[in-house]
Amino acid sequence: MSILVLAEHHDGQLADATAHVVAAAQAIGGDIDVLVVGQDVAAVADAAAKLDGVSKVRVADGETFAHLLAEPTADLLVALADDYSHVLAAASTTGKNVLPRLAALKDVAQISEIIAVESADTFKRPIYAGNAIATVQSEDALKVITVRSTAFDAVGQGGSAAIEPVEASIDNSLSSFVGEELAESDRPELGAARVVISGGRGMGSGENFKILDNIADKLGAAIGASRAAVDAGFVPNDMQVGQTGKIVAPDLYIAVGISGAIQHLAGMKDSKVIVAINKDEEAPIFQVADYGLVADLFEAIPELDSKL
């Protein structure tokens, strides 16, 4: 068996998610190649070659592949897929965008967001916003899979895989990149942070999110939000934790002014320790919280800040 892992990268750097996906590939077993697709991605390829367990890094570098648009990237994967039994990517917006297109072009099903590998053809994945875990088996010759990276521990960085360019000519007249607006943040990335502190509707305004800053800085935490806080315009959408936002599983998750709707819990209930601070003692968040504090967040947060 041979497995191809599509590398995740941003701003010329390999994303942590890739090391988690390689771990999922190891659980399946077989030779693991990493495919780096993009423009000017030599540094990404070098970083991918250092991941433990990787046999070979294949690099498709070119203008067509800039921004990993779905149409050319899927066509490239189709050209390479016959060498492999499995194609894996992180269940990021890139993986979710590209892999189903590959699967349909190869006339196979895709298995989304696996959280465990039972065998080379059987996997566990959450359904119904994480309220049920399905065990599914694919008999397709090619398994196309996205991986929930928080469910697998990252592999180490002691490898030295060979790097080789991919010779494939791919055209794209269907789509083009116009521009992007990326949220700027010095804090750790939400999906990879060890500590996450999130605010909900109870924060009252975007301005009030600043009271989380100090605690986040002290704990090296990322700041997240519930959908209610995003919809109210308090914070940008990419901070959203939940079924329709990011899935996180940090060591410590602090939910501030978040009631704990099913859709929010879907994004954080695999956190190791959950703390809830809410003035409504009936809030459903207290049913999943390891430590709950019934208090007005505008008093509790400054006090917590002063005591850390």
Binding site: T93, L105, V178, D238, Y291, L304
Partner: protein
Amino acid sequence: MKVLVAVKRVIDYNVKIRVKPDHSDVDLTNVKMAMNPFCEIAVEEAVRLKERGVATEVVAVTVGPKAAQEQLRTALALGADRAIHVETDERVESLGAAKALARLVAKEQPGLVILGKQAIDTDNNQTGQMLAALTGLPQGTFASAVNVEGDKVQVTREVDGGLQTVELTLPAIVTTDLRLNEPRYAKLPDIMKAKKKPLDVKTPADLGVEVASKVKLLKVEPPAERQGGVKVGSVDELVDKLKNEAKVL
């Protein structure tokens, strides 16, 4: 330009689901069903395109059991002009649905197809992308803004880390994210009128496709329960517990 919009009948998003005792699937008997929330956003966007004069006709489609006609009627009440139901009692997942939709795209020749980004039951997030692949059309997934200009559409996408805008040649496939729009409610007179709008019923065999999922569902289990937690009385106690008991600080 004709706009095709795909809708799915799913469990109501507020319902707390139960797993069947034999672990064969989730129990859907006597459970409130509704249109998938992302599909509501897709219908709303199609209707707005019609109100702006960009779309000339909005066709709502679904693949599923007979009861899914309720959701097509909802789409008609919200402003779709007619509906097509591909009726099947098979367990259909993304690839099968995409194959049926691809046949309808070939037949109807829409300028734009709008789907939700994912259904809240299977949480697959695949059908739109697969439909794009099968029809050879470009895809604008996780859309938070859609602007049709001439023979192109600009789609602003919600990606990890922010927003990305891509330009696609029409016809194209778009999948909706939550912030694309705020869906309207169906008004009573519109619900009455929707009963008279045309609704075509076809079978997968009529379209010449197999829709049953080839991925075997071996088992469905409830997730591991979290241990019941404790309520603390003060911030001091909280900090103490996090430091000394949970050891996460």
